[in-house]
Subunit: 149 residues, 4 copies
């Protein structure tokens, strides 16, 4: 029989990339996808560069207080998406800009199209729409203000 998942997240020690990631246990979005999103965002913002190894499954699992399988699943999705790879020593490493060769990937375009349509359908003006996206874009890009040329 399955162990009753403890509802308590362990008091995460703020180390390594852990602190970058935030898990909202009350969000409807599955935790493994939150992890994926966070890591993708970190890559996009430059906080995680190509070649950087991700924290080990156990490590991140402990830091965030989530199940090890959950982290595994997140890493797995990242690999399928091409954002990370596994080196010969079993570690997951960031693959950087090579991911899917910067082609817009039909899926991405479809999703973006859907989102734009939805904005328009909600009555948001075209120019207003691009303005808002610009604001969001600025926000997603600067979570790592610690200088590092």
């Amino acid at each position: 029989m399955p162990l009753p998942r403890s509802p308590l997240r362990k008091a995460a020690s703020p180390r390594a990339v852990g602190p970058i990631l935030q898990v909202d246990f009350r969000s409807p979005r599955p935790i493994y996808l939150q992890l994926r999103d966070g890591i993708v965002a970190a890559i996009g913002s430059g906080a995680l560069r190509a070649g950087t190894p991700l924290p080990s499954l156990r490590r991140l699992s402990e830091e965030l207080g989530v199940n090890l399988h959950t982290v595994h699943r997140a890493y797995d999705v990242l690999r399928q998406n091409g954002f990370v790879g596994v080196d010969r020593s079993q570690r997951f490493v960031v693959r950087g800009a090579s991911a899917s060769e910067a082609d817009p990937s039909k899926e991405w375009e479809d999703a973006q199209r859907r989102l734009l349509s939805e904005g328009l359908a909600r009555g948001v003006d075209r120019t207003e729409l691009v303005r808002r996206i610009g604001v969001l874009l600025k926000a997603v890009g600067n979570p790592a203000p610690h200088r590092r040329p």
Copy 2:
């Protein structure tokens, strides 16, 4: 035994919103979501205006060659999203720009943020990113060039 209904959509007489919608029966995206997306796009592009009644469940179901319940589900999602409402218990009608009146709705912003991060993480330049979105935005907006003040 009943004839196996051809999966091909009947050559729909070009009336109402029917022709606007296209269903790809081989897409991994569920049909009911394709329908939803298509109608949202039609609203966003102005092809469907506030107050316009959607085709009846049976009508659209016949036109597109999909089951009545599938269309029903699509309409149901649209209602939950606030894009359509049900006219005094007799018809689905477009609610247009009403849907939460242009407030970005946290979900939309989250999805957009995710998409932007993903683009950046794929190594696409920021300016390139906005350029591409601009192109997409133009594309989603002009399926109804027939002037009508």
Copy 3:
């Protein structure tokens, strides 16, 4: 073919009970129910007393800029609920506290029970729950501060 409903609400002249009612054309709640709710609230708060005639269908329809049938439907629901009756001159008049004889009416209790369960299920504390209801109760009761013993 059906007339295309004008999306424009007429500039309502603020008279009579009209001003008490507010219609949110962007709400997912059907307009006729909004009207019903508003009138029930007015009765509950004492702004509308037993014996008071409701404004005529056309009058209210014009004041609020909603279709005459919509108002009719709202009044109809109010009659079915027992809150108003029709006098011999065809006018709708408030029936006051006699409505359904102040018995809790199983439906009301069921709805209330459902709402309480939902609050609890959302994790709201019991005492907090009654507190909030108390606040709401105060709010619903005083929309008519114009003295009238």
Copy 4:
């Protein structure tokens, strides 16, 4: 021809949440909403705690003698309401107090306001109103007196 499935619910072996739920096949309230209400009530009363998996669609469908799709629809509504989530794509699990974490959610407040107004409009005294609600609140909360720290 297939046997007309008896509308009577099978004498469910008293396990899991099944027995908690009761379906009234003659009620005007749709079955899927009755199921939803029952599960919400179970969550609210503490009979179903966060993390608990709901019975599988097929299981509950058999226990209650309702169609699988009906149960599916109920679970779907619960998910949209945020009360349950889907475990790594394999099971519905209770999300408990997570659902928007005790924020009253405008809809809930509106519904409550409506109910209070209705009570007042029926001529029920304010103090009497809170008294009745208190009684109901007590009733909804104690179906699980079995101690379990």
